[in-house]
């Protein structure tokens, strides 16, 4: 089973202190929200960045996805605040 890449942006990236990492692929059926909860449980910057999922947005393989989306066979999950471009 391949590892899962997670990328972080903006204050999520700053609080965690890294922009990318590999994690073991969560159990079948896991959703992005489950991954967020698992990462937040690491404490420290992870808890600060990911402790309040209502403030987070996500993408699966470079497409926006709600947090309740199953991770499935995704290669890359991105976690970030609501976007502020334009």
């Amino acid at each position: 089973m391949t590892a899962l890449t997670i990328v972080y942006f903006a204050w999520v990236r700053e609080a965690i202190g890294r922009d990318e990492e590999q994690v073991d692929r969560p159990a079948a059926g896991a959703r992005i929200a489950d991954l967020v909860e698992m990462l937040a449980a690491r404490g420290g910057g992870y808890a600060q960045a990911l402790g309040d999922p209502a403030r987070l947005r996500a993408a699966i393989d470079q497409r926006f996805a709600p947090l309740d989306t199953p991770i499935g066979e995704a290669r890359e999950i991105a976690l970030f605040p609501p976007v502020t471009g334009g």
């Binding site: 470079q62 497409r63 926006f64 970030f80 609501p82 976007v83 502020t84 471009g85 334009g86």
Partner: protein, 147 residues
């Protein structure tokens, strides 16, 4: 014509407009976003999701081209450190119909604000920094276009 560029460097608005005008549709609309100064702001830093940005902007442009009869669309979005007065974003649309050009231009900038993976961080003269928070009204504006 479909032109999408995500770039660090500045762009030439006149040149972009000329390319849209040359399509012969008779109607060209545009929006240019510029870094607003004040309150001690010294720079805006724009972060993006490089692997996603270009494709996501292309999806938004394709949506616009499917909704309105457009001859051309040009979208340029900068990233990196930008000082007050610097251009951030350009949207230009060309059509045979002014309503299509104007409406699609407004749609594109509304959608870029709430659906393109960019994040703005403000840098102030006292050294403080602050991530810009998404505004509910921007999300509501994008939703207002439906779809």
């Amino acid at each position: 014509m479909k032109r999408i560029s995500v770039q660090a460097q500045d762009f030439d608005v006149a040149g972009e407009m000329a390319a849209l005008e040359a399509l012969g549709g008779g109607g060209v609309a545009s929006f240019t976003g510029v870094v607003r100064g004040g309150d001690g702001l010294v720079a805006l830093e724009l972060e993006q999701y490089p692997a996603m940005t270009q494709a996501q902007v292309a999806r938004i442009v394709d949506d616009a081209m499917a909704r309105w009869p457009l001859l051309g669309v040009s979208v340029i979005h900068r990233y990196g450190r930008l000082e007050p007065g610097a251009r951030i974003v350009f949207v230009g649309t060309a059509s045979r119909h002014r309503t299509a050009a104007l409406e699609s231009c407004a749609f594109l900038i509304d959608w870029l604000k709430s659906h393109a993976p960019f994040w703005k961080k403000e840098h102030f003269e006292d050294g403080a920094t602050r991530w810009v928070e998404a505004r509910a009204e921007d999300e509501a504006k994008a939703k207002g276009w439906g779809g």
